[in-house]
Protein backbone atom coordinates (compact mmCIF):
# COMPACT_ATOMS: atom_id res chain seq x y z
CA UNK A 1 0.00 0.00 0.00
CA UNK A 2 2.80 2.37 0.72
CA UNK A 3 4.10 4.33 -2.28
CA UNK A 4 0.80 3.80 -4.05
CA UNK A 5 -1.23 6.81 -5.01
CA UNK A 6 -4.88 6.55 -4.23
CA UNK A 7 -7.22 8.17 -6.71
CA UNK A 8 -9.57 9.00 -3.91
CA UNK A 9 -7.02 10.67 -1.73
CA UNK A 10 -8.33 13.78 -0.22
CA UNK A 11 -7.18 16.68 1.77
CA UNK A 12 -9.60 17.09 4.61
CA UNK A 13 -8.64 20.65 5.30
CA UNK A 14 -12.12 21.98 5.28
CA UNK A 15 -10.86 24.81 7.39
CA UNK A 16 -8.45 26.13 4.81
CA UNK A 17 -10.50 29.19 4.01
CA UNK A 18 -9.32 32.35 5.69
CA UNK A 19 -11.94 34.93 6.32
CA UNK A 20 -10.86 38.44 6.96
CA UNK A 21 -12.90 39.79 9.83
CA UNK A 22 -14.46 43.15 9.39
CA UNK A 23 -12.55 45.57 11.62
CA UNK A 24 -15.81 47.38 12.18
CA UNK A 25 -17.10 44.48 14.22
CA UNK A 26 -14.55 45.00 16.91
CA UNK A 27 -16.14 46.01 20.13
CA UNK A 28 -14.89 46.69 23.56
CA UNK A 29 -13.36 43.66 25.22
CA UNK A 30 -12.20 42.87 28.71
CA UNK A 31 -11.67 45.75 31.02
CA UNK A 32 -8.42 47.59 30.67
CA UNK A 33 -6.78 49.84 33.16
CA UNK A 34 -5.53 52.20 30.54
CA UNK A 35 -6.23 52.03 26.82
CA UNK A 36 -4.78 49.69 24.23
CA UNK A 37 -1.59 49.34 22.30
CA UNK A 38 -1.35 48.27 18.69
CA UNK A 39 1.52 46.60 16.91
CA UNK A 40 0.83 47.54 13.33
CA UNK A 41 1.01 45.26 10.33
CA UNK A 42 4.41 46.58 9.24
CA UNK A 43 6.03 46.19 12.65
CA UNK A 44 8.29 43.29 13.62
CA UNK A 45 8.99 42.77 17.30
CA UNK A 46 11.64 40.41 18.55
CA UNK A 47 11.94 40.21 22.32
CA UNK A 48 9.84 40.48 25.45
CA UNK A 49 6.70 42.57 25.74
CA UNK A 50 5.34 43.41 29.19
CA UNK A 51 2.83 45.96 30.30
CA UNK A 52 -0.55 46.81 31.75
CA UNK A 53 -2.77 47.64 28.84
CA UNK A 54 -4.56 45.63 26.19
CA UNK A 55 -2.58 44.80 23.09
CA UNK A 56 -3.61 44.21 19.48
CA UNK A 57 -1.00 42.50 17.32
CA UNK A 58 -1.35 42.99 13.57
CA UNK A 59 2.36 42.66 12.86
CA UNK A 60 4.97 39.99 13.54
CA UNK A 61 6.05 39.16 17.08
CA UNK A 62 8.70 36.70 18.19
CA UNK A 63 9.62 36.05 21.79
CA UNK A 64 7.45 36.53 24.85
CA UNK A 65 4.32 38.56 25.54
CA UNK A 66 3.30 39.00 29.18
CA UNK A 67 0.19 41.04 29.91
CA UNK A 68 -1.18 39.13 32.85
CA UNK A 69 -3.97 41.57 33.69
CA UNK A 70 -4.97 42.47 30.16
CA UNK A 71 -6.09 41.07 26.86
CA UNK A 72 -3.96 40.20 23.87
CA UNK A 73 -5.53 40.03 20.43
CA UNK A 74 -3.69 38.45 17.52
CA UNK A 75 -5.38 40.24 14.66
CA UNK A 76 -6.07 38.79 11.23
CA UNK A 77 -2.71 39.94 9.88
CA UNK A 78 -0.82 39.11 13.07
CA UNK A 79 1.89 36.45 12.99
CA UNK A 80 3.06 35.46 16.43
CA UNK A 81 5.81 33.00 17.25
CA UNK A 82 5.92 33.43 20.96
CA UNK A 83 4.81 32.43 24.40
CA UNK A 84 1.87 34.63 25.36
CA UNK A 85 0.54 35.06 28.89
CA UNK A 86 -2.51 37.26 29.40
CA UNK A 87 -5.83 37.60 31.16
CA UNK A 88 -7.74 36.95 27.93
CA UNK A 89 -6.48 36.06 24.45
CA UNK A 90 -8.28 36.39 21.13
CA UNK A 91 -6.81 34.81 18.01
CA UNK A 92 -7.78 35.82 14.49
CA UNK A 93 -4.37 35.39 12.91
CA UNK A 94 -1.39 33.05 12.91
CA UNK A 95 0.15 31.68 16.08
CA UNK A 96 2.98 29.24 16.73
CA UNK A 97 3.85 28.80 20.37
CA UNK A 98 2.15 28.78 23.72
CA UNK A 99 -0.93 30.72 24.82
CA UNK A 100 -1.83 30.87 28.52
CA UNK A 101 -4.77 32.91 29.80
CA UNK A 102 -6.10 33.14 33.33
CA UNK A 103 -9.64 33.80 32.08
CA UNK A 104 -10.31 32.62 28.55
CA UNK A 105 -9.02 32.09 25.03
CA UNK A 106 -11.19 32.71 21.98
CA UNK A 107 -10.11 31.14 18.68
CA UNK A 108 -11.87 32.55 15.66
CA UNK A 109 -12.44 30.81 12.35
CA UNK A 110 -9.63 32.68 10.62
CA UNK A 111 -7.07 31.53 13.20
CA UNK A 112 -4.17 29.28 12.32
CA UNK A 113 -2.56 27.84 15.43
CA UNK A 114 0.16 25.31 16.05
CA UNK A 115 1.11 24.90 19.67
CA UNK A 116 -0.36 24.57 23.10
CA UNK A 117 -2.95 26.68 24.82
CA UNK A 118 -4.18 26.68 28.40
CA UNK A 119 -7.12 28.52 29.92
CA UNK A 120 -10.09 27.62 32.12
CA UNK A 121 -12.41 28.56 29.27
CA UNK A 122 -11.72 28.09 25.58
CA UNK A 123 -14.00 28.64 22.63
CA UNK A 124 -13.22 27.80 19.04
CA UNK A 125 -15.07 28.61 15.86
CA UNK A 126 -15.46 25.96 13.18
CA UNK A 127 -13.01 26.66 10.41
CA UNK A 128 -10.10 27.50 12.67
CA UNK A 129 -6.96 25.54 11.84
CA UNK A 130 -5.48 24.05 14.98
CA UNK A 131 -2.83 21.47 15.72
CA UNK A 132 -1.75 21.12 19.29
CA UNK A 133 -3.20 20.86 22.75
CA UNK A 134 -5.97 22.73 24.54
CA UNK A 135 -5.71 22.46 28.30
CA UNK A 136 -8.95 23.53 29.96
CA UNK A 137 -8.08 22.28 33.44
CA UNK A 138 -7.99 25.25 35.84
CA UNK A 139 -5.44 23.33 37.90
CA UNK A 140 -3.05 22.58 35.08
CA UNK A 141 0.62 23.26 35.69
CA UNK A 142 0.81 25.71 32.79
CA UNK A 143 -1.67 28.02 34.51
CA UNK A 144 -0.08 27.62 37.91
CA UNK A 145 3.34 28.52 36.56
CA UNK A 146 2.10 31.48 34.53
CA UNK A 147 0.00 32.92 37.30
CA UNK A 148 1.92 31.89 40.39
CA UNK A 149 0.22 33.23 43.46
CA UNK A 150 -2.98 33.98 41.59
CA UNK A 151 -5.76 31.55 41.00
CA UNK A 152 -7.02 31.11 37.50
CA UNK A 153 -10.73 31.63 37.12
CA UNK A 154 -12.60 28.56 38.26
CA UNK A 155 -14.42 26.62 35.60
CA UNK A 156 -18.18 27.08 35.68
CA UNK A 157 -20.35 24.16 36.58
CA UNK A 158 -20.97 21.59 33.87
CA UNK A 159 -23.26 22.86 31.14
CA UNK A 160 -22.10 26.30 31.99
CA UNK A 161 -19.20 26.39 29.58
CA UNK A 162 -19.71 29.10 27.06
CA UNK A 163 -18.95 27.75 23.64
CA UNK A 164 -20.07 30.89 21.91
CA UNK A 165 -17.42 32.79 20.11
CA UNK A 166 -19.00 36.13 19.75
CA UNK A 167 -16.80 37.82 22.27
CA UNK A 168 -15.00 40.69 20.72
CA UNK A 169 -11.38 41.46 21.23
CA UNK A 170 -10.17 44.55 22.87
CA UNK A 171 -8.94 46.96 20.34
CA UNK A 172 -8.05 50.53 20.33
CA UNK A 173 -6.86 53.24 18.07
CA UNK A 174 -3.87 54.02 20.18
CA UNK A 175 -0.62 52.94 18.64
CA UNK A 176 1.82 53.86 21.25
CA UNK A 177 4.17 51.07 22.24
CA UNK A 178 3.79 49.47 25.58
CA UNK A 179 5.74 51.59 27.99
CA UNK A 180 6.83 48.52 29.86
CA UNK A 181 8.04 46.66 26.83
CA UNK A 182 11.55 45.49 26.39
CA UNK A 183 11.85 44.79 22.73
CA UNK A 184 13.60 45.43 19.50
CA UNK A 185 11.39 46.50 16.66
CA UNK A 186 11.96 47.19 13.03
CA UNK A 187 9.70 48.48 10.37
CA UNK A 188 9.48 47.05 6.91
Amino acid sequence: MFNKKDQTEANGSSAARVDRPDPARRESGPSSSGGSAVIGASIHVDGTLRGEEDLLIEGKVKGTVELRKNSVTIGPTGEVTADVVAHTIFVDGSMDGTLVASERIVIRKSARIKGSIAAPRVSLEDGAQFNGSIDMDPETDALKKAFAGKNASPKPARQGNDARSGDAPASGSANKPDSGAKSTARQN
Binding site: M1, F2, N3, K4, K5, D6, Q7, T8, E9, A10, N11, G12, S13, S14, A15, I107, G115, S116, R121, V122, S123, L124, E125, D126, A128, Q129, F130, N131, G132, S133, I134, D135, M136, D137, P138, E139, T140, K155, R158, Q159, G160, N161, A163, S165
Partner: protein, 203 residues
Protein backbone atom coordinates in the same frame (compact mmCIF):
# COMPACT_ATOMS: atom_id res chain seq x y z
CA UNK B 1 -34.14 10.95 2.39
CA UNK B 2 -33.06 8.95 5.41
CA UNK B 3 -29.91 9.50 7.33
CA UNK B 4 -28.23 6.42 5.87
CA UNK B 5 -29.06 7.47 2.33
CA UNK B 6 -27.66 10.90 3.01
CA UNK B 7 -24.45 9.34 4.19
CA UNK B 8 -24.19 7.29 1.05
CA UNK B 9 -24.77 10.15 -1.34
CA UNK B 10 -22.12 12.70 -0.65
CA UNK B 11 -22.80 16.15 0.71
CA UNK B 12 -24.96 16.01 3.78
CA UNK B 13 -25.22 17.01 7.38
CA UNK B 14 -26.71 14.57 9.81
CA UNK B 15 -26.83 14.14 13.56
CA UNK B 16 -26.70 10.60 14.88
CA UNK B 17 -26.95 9.22 18.38
CA UNK B 18 -23.82 7.30 19.34
CA UNK B 19 -24.45 5.23 22.47
CA UNK B 20 -20.88 3.95 22.74
CA UNK B 21 -19.46 7.44 22.57
CA UNK B 22 -21.98 8.50 25.15
CA UNK B 23 -20.86 5.64 27.38
CA UNK B 24 -17.30 7.00 27.30
CA UNK B 25 -18.41 10.50 28.31
CA UNK B 26 -20.51 9.10 31.13
CA UNK B 27 -17.42 7.51 32.62
CA UNK B 28 -15.67 10.84 32.98
CA UNK B 29 -15.79 12.56 36.34
CA UNK B 30 -15.88 16.36 36.18
CA UNK B 31 -13.55 16.46 39.17
CA UNK B 32 -10.85 14.31 37.55
CA UNK B 33 -8.38 15.47 34.95
CA UNK B 34 -8.76 13.67 31.64
CA UNK B 35 -6.75 13.61 28.43
CA UNK B 36 -8.53 13.26 25.09
CA UNK B 37 -6.82 12.90 21.72
CA UNK B 38 -8.82 13.83 18.63
CA UNK B 39 -7.31 12.61 15.37
CA UNK B 40 -9.60 14.89 13.40
CA UNK B 41 -9.86 18.62 12.87
CA UNK B 42 -10.58 21.13 15.62
CA UNK B 43 -14.30 21.67 16.01
CA UNK B 44 -16.36 23.96 18.16
CA UNK B 45 -18.52 21.12 19.49
CA UNK B 46 -15.54 19.06 20.60
CA UNK B 47 -13.98 21.95 22.51
CA UNK B 48 -17.33 22.82 24.08
CA UNK B 49 -18.03 19.25 25.22
CA UNK B 50 -14.65 18.57 26.75
CA UNK B 51 -14.46 22.09 28.15
CA UNK B 52 -16.98 20.88 30.69
CA UNK B 53 -14.28 18.70 32.18
CA UNK B 54 -10.80 19.26 33.52
CA UNK B 55 -9.54 18.23 30.13
CA UNK B 56 -6.41 18.40 28.06
CA UNK B 57 -7.60 18.02 24.48
CA UNK B 58 -4.99 17.13 21.90
CA UNK B 59 -5.97 17.85 18.31
CA UNK B 60 -3.89 16.17 15.62
CA UNK B 61 -5.83 17.31 12.55
CA UNK B 62 -4.70 14.23 10.64
CA UNK B 63 -7.18 14.58 7.75
CA UNK B 64 -4.90 17.38 6.54
CA UNK B 65 -2.21 14.72 6.17
CA UNK B 66 -4.13 12.21 4.07
CA UNK B 67 -2.32 12.95 0.84
CA UNK B 68 1.19 12.92 2.35
CA UNK B 69 0.36 9.79 4.33
CA UNK B 70 -0.75 7.96 1.21
CA UNK B 71 2.41 9.01 -0.56
CA UNK B 72 4.64 7.49 2.12
CA UNK B 73 6.89 4.71 0.94
CA UNK B 74 7.25 3.00 4.28
CA UNK B 75 5.38 2.68 7.56
CA UNK B 76 8.27 4.43 9.26
CA UNK B 77 7.83 7.47 7.06
CA UNK B 78 4.12 7.56 7.87
CA UNK B 79 4.85 7.25 11.57
CA UNK B 80 7.17 10.24 11.37
CA UNK B 81 4.44 12.35 9.78
CA UNK B 82 2.04 11.45 12.55
CA UNK B 83 4.67 11.99 15.24
CA UNK B 84 5.15 15.55 13.99
CA UNK B 85 1.49 16.21 14.70
CA UNK B 86 1.65 15.07 18.32
CA UNK B 87 1.76 18.17 20.54
CA UNK B 88 4.91 18.72 22.54
CA UNK B 89 4.67 17.78 26.19
CA UNK B 90 2.30 14.95 25.40
CA UNK B 91 3.44 12.53 28.04
CA UNK B 92 0.18 12.07 29.91
CA UNK B 93 -1.74 8.87 29.24
CA UNK B 94 -4.76 9.34 26.99
CA UNK B 95 -8.15 8.46 28.44
CA UNK B 96 -10.02 8.57 25.14
CA UNK B 97 -8.91 8.66 21.52
CA UNK B 98 -11.39 9.91 18.93
CA UNK B 99 -10.82 8.19 15.57
CA UNK B 100 -13.82 9.63 13.82
CA UNK B 101 -14.15 8.94 10.14
CA UNK B 102 -10.43 9.22 9.44
CA UNK B 103 -9.87 5.46 9.44
CA UNK B 104 -12.29 5.09 6.51
CA UNK B 105 -9.72 6.84 4.35
CA UNK B 106 -6.66 4.87 5.43
CA UNK B 107 -5.45 1.44 4.35
CA UNK B 108 -4.92 -1.16 7.07
CA UNK B 109 -1.17 -0.55 6.75
CA UNK B 110 -1.60 3.18 7.31
CA UNK B 111 -3.99 2.64 10.20
CA UNK B 112 -1.36 0.41 11.79
CA UNK B 113 1.29 3.09 11.23
CA UNK B 114 -0.88 5.78 12.85
CA UNK B 115 -1.70 3.58 15.78
CA UNK B 116 1.90 2.50 16.21
CA UNK B 117 2.53 6.10 17.25
CA UNK B 118 -0.59 6.69 19.30
CA UNK B 119 -1.97 3.47 20.76
CA UNK B 120 0.88 3.12 23.23
CA UNK B 121 -0.15 6.39 24.83
CA UNK B 122 -3.59 5.12 25.77
CA UNK B 123 -4.01 4.82 29.52
CA UNK B 124 -4.60 1.43 31.00
CA UNK B 125 -8.31 0.93 30.44
CA UNK B 126 -8.42 3.86 28.00
CA UNK B 127 -10.75 3.89 25.03
CA UNK B 128 -10.48 4.42 21.30
CA UNK B 129 -13.73 5.31 19.55
CA UNK B 130 -14.05 4.94 15.78
CA UNK B 131 -16.75 5.60 13.20
CA UNK B 132 -16.69 3.39 10.13
CA UNK B 133 -18.78 3.50 6.96
CA UNK B 134 -20.45 0.13 7.02
CA UNK B 135 -23.88 -0.20 5.43
CA UNK B 136 -23.09 1.87 2.40
CA UNK B 137 -20.80 0.67 -0.37
CA UNK B 138 -19.72 4.23 -1.05
CA UNK B 139 -18.81 7.28 0.97
CA UNK B 140 -17.83 10.91 0.28
CA UNK B 141 -14.46 11.00 -1.47
CA UNK B 142 -13.16 13.55 1.02
CA UNK B 143 -13.67 12.97 4.74
CA UNK B 144 -16.30 15.10 6.34
CA UNK B 145 -16.01 16.65 9.75
CA UNK B 146 -17.50 15.15 12.87
CA UNK B 147 -18.14 16.81 16.19
CA UNK B 148 -20.24 16.31 19.31
CA UNK B 149 -23.68 17.84 19.11
CA UNK B 150 -25.37 17.47 22.42
CA UNK B 151 -25.33 14.55 24.80
CA UNK B 152 -24.33 11.33 23.07
CA UNK B 153 -24.81 12.72 19.58
CA UNK B 154 -22.36 13.43 16.79
CA UNK B 155 -22.86 15.85 13.95
CA UNK B 156 -21.47 14.44 10.69
CA UNK B 157 -20.96 17.01 7.95
CA UNK B 158 -19.74 16.44 4.43
CA UNK B 159 -19.53 18.96 1.60
CA UNK B 160 -18.29 16.52 -1.04
CA UNK B 161 -20.66 15.14 -3.67
CA UNK B 162 -17.97 12.87 -5.11
CA UNK B 163 -18.02 9.31 -3.90
CA UNK B 164 -15.46 6.58 -3.41
CA UNK B 165 -15.69 2.96 -2.25
CA UNK B 166 -16.14 2.53 1.48
CA UNK B 167 -13.71 0.03 3.06
CA UNK B 168 -16.39 -1.22 5.45
CA UNK B 169 -13.85 -2.43 7.99
CA UNK B 170 -15.18 -5.02 10.39
CA UNK B 171 -14.48 -4.83 14.11
CA UNK B 172 -12.05 -7.71 13.82
CA UNK B 173 -10.26 -6.32 10.79
CA UNK B 174 -9.73 -3.02 12.54
CA UNK B 175 -8.59 -4.66 15.76
CA UNK B 176 -5.69 -6.23 13.86
CA UNK B 177 -4.45 -2.73 12.98
CA UNK B 178 -4.73 -1.28 16.47
CA UNK B 179 -1.66 -2.44 18.26
CA UNK B 180 -2.48 -3.66 21.72
CA UNK B 181 -6.12 -2.58 21.72
CA UNK B 182 -9.00 -4.96 22.18
CA UNK B 183 -12.42 -4.60 20.64
CA UNK B 184 -15.19 -4.02 23.15
CA UNK B 185 -18.41 -3.36 21.27
CA UNK B 186 -19.85 -2.26 17.95
CA UNK B 187 -23.15 -0.57 17.20
CA UNK B 188 -24.89 0.21 13.93
CA UNK B 189 -25.91 3.86 13.87
CA UNK B 190 -28.94 5.51 12.37
CA UNK B 191 -27.00 6.73 9.33
CA UNK B 192 -25.60 3.31 8.46
CA UNK B 193 -22.19 3.89 10.02
CA UNK B 194 -20.84 1.66 12.73
CA UNK B 195 -19.33 2.96 15.91
CA UNK B 196 -16.57 0.79 17.31
CA UNK B 197 -15.21 0.86 20.81
CA UNK B 198 -11.71 -0.42 21.52
CA UNK B 199 -9.96 -0.50 24.84
CA UNK B 200 -6.48 -0.94 26.13
CA UNK B 201 -6.82 -3.80 28.60
CA UNK B 202 -6.46 -2.63 32.20
CA UNK B 203 -3.09 -3.50 33.73
Amino acid sequence: MGAAAQSAHGAASVTVRCPLFESIIERFDVERRIVVCDLGAARRGTVALFGEFRCRLEILALPDLLAPLKACESPREAEELVRDRVPSGSDEPIDAMLCWNLLNYLSPELIAAVMAVLAGRLASGGFAHALIEYSSLQMPARPGVISPNGAGQLLIESDDDNLCPAPRYSLGALEKCLSGLKSERAMLLGNGMQEYLFRRPPD
